[in-house]
C-alpha cells in the first residue's frame, strides 16, 4: 500500500501543479485546421490592367505648415504641399488603390513570406497608400531625427498607436482581417497620413505616377474590380477574365 501511496505522491508531483501550464503538443479539440492554400494554375492565369483618370478640375495645391517641427521643415526643402491628390500631365491618378472586391470567394491564399515596410521619412509616411495581405508582416521604421507616433485607426482590425523615436527598433505588425481602408495618422505631425488596404488575397495594386495598375496571375473568372481614392472617390466594374486572357479596365473618376 505504501508503494501505491508513493506512486500517488509521484503522480501528484508531476501532475498536480502543472495543469495550468500544460505544454502538451497534442491537437486541441476545436483547433483550427491547417488551411489549404489555393494555387493558381500558370497555364490558365490571366491579368487585369488599366489606367485611372480624373475628369474634373485640377485641384489647387494646398500648402502644408510644418513650422511646429523645425526638423521637418529642414527635411523638406522649400514649400511643401498636401500629397492627397497627385495627378499626372493628363490627369492620370497616382495613389489609387485598385483591388478585386469579389469573385475569389472560397479560395484561400497564403500570406506572403516577405514583409512590407512603412517608412516615416522626411516627416511623411512612405508609401502613402499601402496594400497588404491578411497575416503579412508590416515593418514600421522611423528614418527621421524626430519622434513620430504612428496610429492606424482600424475598425475591423485592432486600433493601436505607438511613438517611435529616432533610431528606435522597427515595429512589426500584422492585420488579420480584410479592411478597406485603414486611415493612418501621426499623432505628432498632423499632416502625415497614410491609408492601408488589407485583403485576404494578393490581387491589389496602387496606381503609379502614370495612373496605371496591373493585377497579374489571376485565375480565370468573373470579378468585381474596385477602386478607392482618398479624395476622388470610389468606383466598381465587372470584368470576366478568360483562361490565359488579359483584360483592360480603365476608371474615369468625376466630381461627385
Amino acid at each position: 500500500m505504501k508503494r501505491y501511496l508513493l506512486v500517488l505522491f509521484a503522480m501528484s508531483l508531476l501532475g498536480g501543479c502543472s495543469r495550468e501550464h500544460s505544454n502538451t503538443t497534442a491537437p486541441q479539440p476545436g483547433a483550427a485546421p491547417k488551411p489549404v492554400y489555393f494555387k493558381v494554375d500558370p497555364s490558365t492565369a490571366g491579368a487585369i490592367s488599366g489606367t485611372v483618370h480624373w475628369n474634373g478640375p485640377r485641384p489647387s495645391p494646398v500648402p502644408i505648415d510644418m513650422s511646429d517641427d523645425p526638423a521637418c521643415v529642414a527635411a523638406n526643402k522649400g514649400k511643401v504641399y498636401d500629397q492627397s491628390v497627385l495627378l499626372g500631365k493628363h490627369k492620370e491618378v497616382e495613389n489609387a488603390f485598385v483591388y478585386i472586391k469579389s469573385g475569389l470567394e472560397g479560395k484561400t491564399f497564403a500570406p506572403p513570406s516577405t514583409a512590407v515596410t512603412i517608412d516615416q521619412r522626411g516627416c511623411w509616411f512612405h508609401p502613402r497608400i499601402l496594400g497588404v495581405q491578411t497575416g503579412q508582416e508590416v515593418d514600421i521604421v522611423n528614418s527621421d531625427p524626430v519622434t513620430h507616433n504612428i496610429h492606424p485607426m482600424a475598425h475591423t482590425n485592432r486600433e493601436w498607436n505607438h511613438s517611435q523615436g529616432p533610431g528606435d527598433s522597427p515595429l512589426h505588425r500584422r492585420f488579420l482581417k480584410p479592411e478597406i481602408m485603414i486611415p493612418v495618422k501621426c499623432n505628432i505631425h498632423s499632416w502625415m497620413h497614410e491609408y492601408i488596404g488589407v485583403l485576404d488575397h494578393p490581387y491589389f495594386a496602387v496606381t503609379t505616377t502614370d495612373g496605371t495598375f496591373t493585377l497579374p496571375n489571376l485565375p480565370p473568372g468573373t470579378y468585381t474590380i474596385a477602386l478607392w481614392h482618398e479624395k476622388l472617390g470610389t468606383q466598381e466594374q465587372q470584368v470576366t477574365v478568360p483562361p490565359h486572357g488579359s483584360q483592360v479596365v480603365n476608371f474615369d473618376l468625376k466630381p461627385r
Partner: protein, 360 residues
C-alpha cells in the same frame, strides 16, 4: 483483507501526502495577506503584469505581502482617510511597441473596474464599476467621488464611491490618461494623449468647460498649491509644459532631454512645492526641477522604465516603480542617489506611501 498490508497512517506519510499540495500553494487567493508587524510607512505598488499589489516595508526594504487584485492594475490612490486604496483595473490586454496587437485577445470588459483595497484588512474588499479600460484617476477631497479616465472610450467618468457606480461620463479627447483635481477642489483636469490637450471638467456645471493645448502625449498633471500653475508632461516632446490655469494657456516648457530618449511620465511635487520630480520611462531617470526658476537641478538613474513615483512623508525619500526592472528604487534626495531597490511584482506601475495600519 490482508491485515499485514493495511495502510498505517503515520505522521511521515501525512507529511509526504501534504507536500505536493503545499507545493501548489503559489496559486494566489483573495484571502487577507499576512504581513509582518508594522515597522513604518509602507509602499503599495500596483503590478500591471502580475495583476497584484506589493506591500513593501520602507524601514527594512522588504516585500511584506503580495495580494491579488485583478487584471492590469495601474493607477492607485488612497481615500482621504487612508482607510482604502483605490486601484484602476482593466481587461484591456497589455500592448506596447514590442507586442503585435493582432496577437492579443479581445478586451475583457468584465475585468474593468476600480478595486477597493481595505488597508487595515490588507485585502481587496470589492471592485466597483469604473467605466471601460480605467487607467488613472483622482479622488475628491471629500472622498465621495472618483474621476477616472476611460482610455478606450475617450471619456472621463465620475464614480459615486458609496453607491459603487458610474453616475456620469464626459467625452474628452482620445486616449485620456492623467486626471487631477485642482487644489480648489472645483475643477478636474484630464490629459488627452492623442490630441495633446488638457481638458477642464466642471462637475458643478456638469460639462467640459475648456481645453488647453499642451504638447504631445501628455499623461500627468501636478498643481502648485495656489492652483494657478500646472505642470504637465509631454512624453513625446521630452519636456514638461508649464500651464497658466487662469489664462488657460501654455506659458513655457522645461526641456529634460532628447525627445524619444527621455520620456517624461509621472509628475510629483515636494510637500513644500519647491521641487517637481519627473519620472522618464525609458529615459530611466528621475529629474528634479526647481519650481521657482523652472530649471532642471539634477537627475538620477533609478531603473528600467520608472513610471509611478511617490515621496516619503518628510519629503526626503523618493520611491519609483520600475516596470521592466520589477522593483522599486529608493532615492535619498539629499544625495540624489539610489540607496536600495526592493523587489516588487511583475511590471510595477503605480505607487503610494501610507503609514502602516498600526501606526495611524
Amino acid at each position: 483483507m490482508n491485515g499485514g498490508r493495511m495502510l498505517k497512517i503515520t505522521p511521515a506519510l501525512l507529511l509526504l501526502l501534504a507536500f505536493p499540495l503545499a507545493g501548489c500553494k503559489s496559486t494566489k487567493t483573495n484571502q487577507p495577506a499576512e504581513t509582518q508587524a508594522p515597522s513604518g510607512p509602507r509602499l503599495y505598488v500596483t503590478n500591471e503584469v502580475s495583476g497584484d499589489l506589493s506591500v513593501l516595508d520602507t524601514k527594512n526594504f522588504t516585500n511584506l505581502a503580495t495580494i491579488p487584485l485583478g487584471k492590469r492594475p495601474r493607477g492607485i490612490h488612497p481615500s482621504p482617510d487612508h482607510k482604502f486604496l483605490y486601484v484602476a483595473l482593466s481587461g484591456t490586454p497589455i500592448g506596447g511597441p514590442d507586442v503585435d496587437e493582432s496577437t492579443l485577445p479581445p478586451p475583457d470588459r468584465s475585468a474593468d473596474g476600480i478595486g477597493v483595497f481595505d488597508v487595515q484588512a490588507n485585502k481587496l474588499a470589492k471592485i466597483i464599476p469604473g467605466g471601460a479600460d480605467p487607467e488613472n484617476f483622482d479622488v475628491s477631497a471629500d472622498g465621495k467621488y472618483i474621476f477616472v479616465s476611460n482610455e478606450d472610450t475617450s471619456a472621463v467618468s465620475q464614480i459615486d464611491i458609496a453607491a459603487g457606480k458610474v453616475i456620469r461620463s464626459f467625452p474628452v479627447g482620445a486616449e485620456p490618461e492623467g486626471v487631477k483635481i485642482a487644489p480648489d477642489n472645483k475643477l478636474v483636469y484630464i490629459t488627452s494623449e492623442e490630441t495633446g490637450q488638457l481638458f477642464i471638467l466642471d462637475p458643478a456645471q456638469g460639462k467640459i468647460i475648456g481645453s488647453i493645448k499642451v504638447g504631445h502625449r501628455p499623461r500627468s498633471i501636478a498643481f502648485m498649491p495656489d492652483g494657478k500653475t500646472a505642470y504637465v508632461n509631454a512624453e513625446n516632446d521630452g519636456d514638461v509644459v508649464i500651464v497658466d490655469t487662469v489664462k488657460r494657456k501654455m506659458t513655457g516648457t522645461i526641456q529634460l532631454g532628447t525627445p524619444g530618449q527621455i520620456k517624461p511620465m509621472a509628475l510629483l511635487l515636494s510637500p513644500d512645492a519647491s521641487r517637481l520630480y519627473v519620472s522618464t520611462g525609458r529615459g530611466q531617470k528621475v529629474f528634479t526641477i526647481d519650481t521657482a526658476s523652472n530649471k532642471v537641478l539634477d537627475s538620477v538613474a533609478v531603473g528600467k522604465r520608472p513610471w509611478g513615483i511617490a515621496l516619503s512623508h518628510d519629503g526626503r525619500t523618493l520611491y519609483t516603480a520600475n516596470g521592466p526592472s520589477n522593483d522599486v528604487s529608493v532615492v535619498d534626495l539629499a544625495t540624489n542617489s539610489v540607496t536600495h531597490r526592493i523587489k516588487a511584482g511583475t511590471g510595477p506601475w503605480g505607487i503610494v506611501v501610507l503609514d502602516a495600519p498600526g501606526d495611524h
